[in-house]
């Protein structure tokens, strides 16, 4: 078995997409990890849909843990200069109103058209939509970070999603543990590969045909 990127490395790669001045919403799991890796010299603002703009880093000590300061995953966060609090109606005005520059979510499946499925595996109803659907429809740019395949090595990047959609045509970039793929009007464009992975090997684990970027690179951090 070839080595795949671990979660920290995927989070590091995602964080390279954080541009100076962006307002960013991070979903559960690896996306939230990316908040630890803001590129040096850039200032970004994290929005947490449970009612905080400018939420600080995750709490690291018992003393810092405050039940009145948690992120959307329910993890303890910390204060940061400039932060503000508001209620849920205000929070989703920010999201639906296209004020969020970038959102990073996890995914179960992504299609070649950029459709996203990430809230329900059939048979496990009723599923958890949470704020993911509003974010998928509302964010100016959406990155999905996920393992490239399921636990039994089935592709998660598909011609068509088989699970219920979170939103159609919403994904801009897919970061996986073996590749970085851009969703374009002409289909999926393979832009970066994990170390030691060939285009052919990545294609074998991806259902739709990948176009290969002229400047294909190895993922670097």
């Amino acid at each position: 078995m070839k080595a795949r990127l671990d979660e920290q490395t995927m989070a590091l790669r995602v964080a390279r997409e954080f541009q100076d001045g962006m307002v960013i919403n991070l979903g559960f799991g690896i996306p939230t990890l990316a908040s630890n890796f803001i590129p040096e010299g850039r200032e970004v603002i994290f929005q947490s849909e449970n009612g905080c703009l400018g939420i600080g880093p995750m709490a690291t000590s018992e003393q810092e843990m405050d039940f009145n300061l948690v992120n959307a995953t329910g993890q303890f966060a910390t204060r940061r200069l400039g932060m503000s609090f508001f209620d849920h109606a205000e929070s989703f005005s920010m999201i639906r109103g296209k004020h969020i520059d970038l959102c990073v979510l996890g995914g179960l499946q992504v299609s070649e058209k950029g459709d996203l499925a990430n809230f329900l595996i059939p048979g496990r109803e009723p599923g958890n939509i949470g704020g993911g659907m509003d974010l998928a429809f509302g964010a100016a740019r959406l990155i999905i970070v996920m393992t490239h395949t399921t636990k039994d090595d089935k592709p998660k990047v598909l011609k068509r999603c088989t699970y219920p959609l979170t939103a159609p045509g919403c994904v801009d970039l897919i970061v996986t543990d073996i590749a970085v793929i851009e969703v374009t009007p002409d289909g999926l464009l393979l832009k970066e590969t994990a170390p030691d992975w060939t285009v052919k090997e990545i294609q074998a684990l991806t259902e739709p045909k990948l176009k290969v970027a002229a400047d294909l690179k190895q993922i670097s951090l």
Partner: protein, 246 residues
């Protein structure tokens, strides 16, 4: 002193909640901001056939999990109970929520158990649509179009219309009889301030039901709350009850 919304007990505050009522419950998962004492009082009061509207209804009280390796306890604030307790007590026939949760392996989940047994209706709503349906009810807007949901299961049975090239769904105001919310400080008029992310759905739900009942940590004299900082003006709040000191 003629206006005084402060009541002496949680029991008194929920006494008139009737069978079949639609109830908004504030909070966001196991973080703070859940009106736990009001929920307990409603369990004691026993109203049935309730519709509960809550982002994260919660898993009730976990008792006797099945044997297995020890699991990390979910951290909850002091004196915490969630709306799952009402489901567990079979007082609820419908839940409107965004995040029913996923029960930890081996743990009981009152919502999921009753949903799978066909005893509980669950209406899954995107979190932002839920917040806006609540805000609309508060603001006297009967319905609105939202870009969230077209092309997904959420569109089923809903009117769709295109604005500026973007398909939108017609969503209706979520009208409720009671709102149970949690705030930090209140005065006798019912002005409220919250703490941090505990404002969440509490601030949105205040005033969105016919009767809004606030469970608070502190009651302060009129004039103590900075008018510039009051998050929920008194007009939206009908009853205030003080939480016991922890």
């Amino acid at each position: 002193m003629s206006i005084n919304k402060i009541l002496d007990s949680f029991d008194e505050a929920v006494a008139d909640i009737f069978d079949g009522a639609v109830i908004l419950v504030g909070g966001f998962g196991p973080a703070d901001g859940t009106p736990s004492f009001l929920i307990r009082a409603l369990v004691k009061q026993g109203a049935k056939n309730l519709t509960i509207v809550a982002n994260t209804p919660g898993q009730g009280r976990q008792e006797s999990p099945t044997p297995g390796p020890p699991r990390p306890a979910i951290r909850t604030p002091p004196n915490y109970d969630n709306a799952g307790l009402l489901i567990q007590n079979d007082q609820v026939t419908k839940v409107i929520c965004a995040f029913p949760g996923t029960p930890p392996p081996g743990m009981r989940a009152p919502l999921h158990d009753r949903f799978l047994a066909g005893k509980l209706e669950v209406e899954l709503v995107p979190q932002g649509t839920m917040a806006e349906r609540i805000r609309a009810a508060k603001a006297g807007i009967p319905a609105f179009y939202t870009p969230t949901g077209p092309g997904t299961i959420i569109e089923q049975g809903k009117e769709m219309r295109v604005f500026d090239g973007i398909p939108c769904l017609l969503e209706y105001a979520l009208k409720a009889d009671f709102a149970l919310i949690r705030a930090y400080k209140a005065d006798r008029w019912g002005n409220l301030v919250y703490r941090g992310t505990s404002r969440n759905f509490n601030g949105a739900m205040a005033g969105a039901a016919k009767v809004t009942i606030a469970e608070v940590d502190q009651i302060v004299p009129l004039g103590d709350l900075d008018p510039e900082a009051i998050a929920t003006p008194a007009i939206y709040v009908h009853r205030v009850v003080l939480r016991p000191k922890q």
